[in-house]
Symmetry: C2
């Protein structure tokens, strides 16, 4: 059990106290490939920490799915917009690979952050990181051409191309699978 929580330390150092409190509030869940963590229209009532596996976040669309983000082990998953405001989510989150996830309910998070300053810091840190991530994502979508987005992703996260089905990566880059395939042929040789 303790082993499972060890990874959380990787993103933020915790006191033993805080660590124990966190363990006691957590619920460990498993998601099968293609199982939904969060469905559009539903309120996001918990935040998850991915122990192992991967997920993707996407917007439903009549024609095509619009994938906006990937989550791997040691990252935090959920819709902050829905979670904080307790309103229906406009995003979907679904497992790409089988996942082991440590889930924290809103109630538990509120208790934990009130009682443990370290955990309040951790929570603030996670929010910060999310804001930064979001700004970078917007920057990429607005400033860079599809081709440049591809090159940047290849440079910064080459492992994504190994682990994630390419049509999801194409969606993330906001291009068609055909175009991604051509980029790969052109630049990877």
């Amino acid at each position: 059990m303790k082993r499972i929580f060890y990874n959380i330390q990787k993103i933020f150092p915790l006191t033993e106290d805080a660590f124990d409190a966190l363990m006691n509030s957590a619920r460990i869940t498993h998601f099968q490939k293609n199982e939904f963590f969060l469905t559009e229209g539903e309120v996001c009532t918990s935040i998850g920490f991915i122990e192992s596996g991967s997920m993707r976040l996407f917007y439903n669309s009549p024609d095509r799915e619009a994938c906006n983000d990937f989550f791997f082990e040691n990252s935090v998953v959920g819709s902050f917009a829905s979670f904080l405001s307790e309103t229906p989510s406009i995003v979907n989150i679904v497992a790409i690979e089988n996942c082991e996830v440590i889930q924290f309910s809103k109630q538990h998070i509120e208790q934990l952050t009130e009682q443990h300053p370290t955990l309040k810091q951790l929570s603030d840190f996670i929010v910060q990181e999310h804001f930064i991530r979001t700004e970078k994502r917007e920057e990429a979508l607005l400033k860079f051409s599809p081709e440049l987005r591809f090159k940047n992703l290849l440079e910064e996260h080459p492992k994504i191309f190994k682990r994630i089905p390419l049509h999801y990566v194409a969606s993330y880059l906001n291009i068609t699978p055909e175009t991604l395939s051509r980029y790969r042929a052109r630049f990877l040789v």
Copy 2:
């Protein structure tokens, strides 16, 4: 003086106490048209409430500016990513029209939210709204074609076209000014 703060009540009801504390921590500043509220590379050290006027947020780019957001009276302005993490901003914020802005420093905000639960609620509300706004913006960029983004903006915020120079609107829609001009000719007749 009190008159100036009256608008803050519009986004969140405050107790008289909280209201007074807020007033005492604020600094009222004016931005001339084209004056920067925040420049790329600089840490965002305060959050502003726009009393009057308008601003835009954009990402610098070698070829073209990539405009990502507009702010009008009664809205909150700043880079949360930079403000919270105290790291250099990757966005610029600049006045489009002359602005009257109520500014709050990080230090003051921390004090205010600690001492007044209502202000903590207000701050949480602002963060929430920001998350929601961001998700919607991403959705628009990922799911909708340029033409549809134009139509949606026209439907939801027609006043933007009256108040904001069209080349900024074009940048916001992630299209060239020429394309925006053609859409307008096509759909407004």
